[in-house]
Subunit: 185 residues, 2 copies
């Protein structure tokens, strides 16, 4: 039996991404975002929705760039912190012990300790409601050598990404491999 739970932003999985940007003084900042996903294959683009009140909002508009960093579950506590507090009031790199590195391709910092980072130029903004969607063109992807297979694919078992459950407000790891994709007949 189906039951309505009304208008809710509940899907499984929500991703957990850490968005890197410089503020107008050039200081690196990070925020946690889950209202996000890939939105185009060519040019390769990712969409991230932010509220106007977020510190990163002005940062990204100012620099026309941001990074999307994929944290490993080893950093779940730090990333939870990054999602609660604002860069207006606290230096989140300093507080969490994470290390900002300059992107070689866009004007934004990325997180050294995280295994995968997407380096994006702001392509367009879309006003929706209380969120503004930033569509970033992915100019480069950096990965830790330790998570790469010899054929260039990535090892999810070493990346250890995790997901956000917005219904019970908790984080979950990923599980076992089910099947290969695009094989069904």
């Amino acid at each position: 039996m189906k039951q309505s739970i009304s208008k809710k932003t509940i899907v499984y999985p929500h991703p957990v991404f850490v968005i890197g940007s410089y503020d107008i003084d050039g200081l690196p900042n990070i925020m946690t975002a889950s209202w996000s996903g890939i939105c185009c294959s060519e040019p390769p683009c990712i969409a991230v929705s932010l509220r106007k009140s977020r510190y990163s909002y002005e940062n990204i508009l100012f620099n026309k760039a941001f990074t999307v960093n994929i944290p490993s579950e080893d950093y779940v506590q730090q990333v939870d912190y990054i999602g609660i507090y604002s860069g207006k009031y606290v230096n989140k790199f300093q507080k969490t012990g994470l290390t900002p590195l300059d992107s070689n391709t866009v004007k934004a910092p990325y997180v050294k300790e995280f295994p995968v980072s997407l380096h994006c130029e702001l392509l367009k903004t879309v006003e929706i409601g209380i969120h503004t969607q930033f569509i970033g063109e992915i100019m480069d992807v950096l990965v830790d050598e330790e998570v790469m297979n010899l054929d260039g694919t990535l090892m999810i078992e070493k990346i250890k990404p995790y997901i956000y459950d917005s219904s019970t407000r908790a984080y979950y790891g990923f599980g076992r491999r089910l099947i290969d994709a695009f094989k069904a007949k």
Copy 2:
């Protein structure tokens, strides 16, 4: 050591959603989509990117509505099939044995067997590149009673959502609960 893998649409996790729509003859169709994510809290909205060549593209424009269905891993084979073949040539409900039900709120079908479905009105379209992004306002969410806790939250353990790994092209289940969100100090 970081290594560039160039411009790729690789993030962890990609979601696996099944998009429901009616074609211009009123026949229900489903497609699998991973270029998607929540994009606004108020109004609650979800973005789904489609290529113009997809059968669902015209369907959604015609009816100004679609559903986003969250499959359980029990249906991973069927959903893989739904992502490969086009509704132009095959009735995917019939082929997979899944059951289309009429949404009470929008002009789109949803999948009876899947535990969660979002019922969306098309709010706007955004041209990006080879993909067009459909932004849907979530008008209702239906869930199976069996996956609901008494307090109205949902049981991820019973929903059994899964994720797509675009690097090795495989599906993975979700794993263990890590920590509660929004508690870090």
